[in-house]
Amino acid sequence: MSSQPQHVQDMRTPLKRVRALGAARSGVGHWWWQRLTAVALVPLCLWFVWLVLRLPHLDFASAHVLVATPWNTLLLILFTAIGFWHGQLGLQVIIEDYVHTRWIELTLLIAIKFLAVIGALACALAALNIWLAVY
């Protein structure tokens, strides 16, 4: 049996196997990354609230100094990147559940992924820019 090539054991194409019959064997990836980012966001969210609470007056100079602290820069980049990633995974599920017109669904799915990458990169560049301006 094991000496036979794959197509002899099963003549069906992967598409035929998946269509109305079961999973495409990639669904666990989404589930796993959603949980992994969720676990990472538990401490990061609590840290972020604590960070913002140290800026009650929102004045430019103290915000600049606070964000430019190396640990804060690092954690802010992590928080925003993982936050955008987790958010995008969640929005994907909402869109897949409620948008039933295929082309709108696909457009939205592409748009949220593009926006998440732009958002995460913008945050990382801004945080690094602030860090470099001070040090």
Binding site: V42, A63, T80, G90, L91, I94, H100, A127
Partner: protein
């Protein structure tokens, strides 16, 4: 749709329960928090851009609409965080007894309301955003 599927009964026939309310709120707060992380992005980019851009951002955060949104974002964050931890316990296979998921649901509501109140009392005591 290529394959017609039977539809489940419509949402409106069910009696409201803490479990379904939290399930719906988890999605709503999750979507709302996506706008929240966009606000964080705006703040960071404004801080990098300079004092003028930051001023516009700070003015928005200190305005009435900004403060109302910030309170909603704070509550959404804590609710999604607490309920997310509840989901992680379920993923590990714990807390599936009927009494357990009703209790954990109310714990999520109480803790997230308490954390929101504590956060804003702290913020106001420190001077307030306005």
């Amino acid at each position: 749709m290529p394959h017609a599927r039977p539809l489940s009964p419509h949402l409106s026939i069910y009696e409201w329960r803490i479990t379904m309310v939290l399930s719906i709120l988890h999605r709503v707060t999750g979507a709302f928090l996506c706008a929240g992380v966009a606000l964080v992005a705006w703040g960071l980019v404004a801080l990098a851009a300079g004092e003028g851009a930051w001023g516009t951002f700070a003015e928005f955060c200190g305005s009435w609409i900004g403060l109302i949104l910030l309170v909603c974002w704070t509550f959404s964050l804590f609710l999604h965080l607490c309920n997310g931890i509840r989901h992680l316990f379920w993923d590990a296979g714990a807390g599936f007894q009927k009494s357990e998921y009703f209790t954990s649901g109310w714990v999520v509501v109480i803790v997230s309301v308490a954390l929101t109140v504590i956060t804003w009392l702290w913020a106001m005591r420190a001077g307030g955003a306005t």
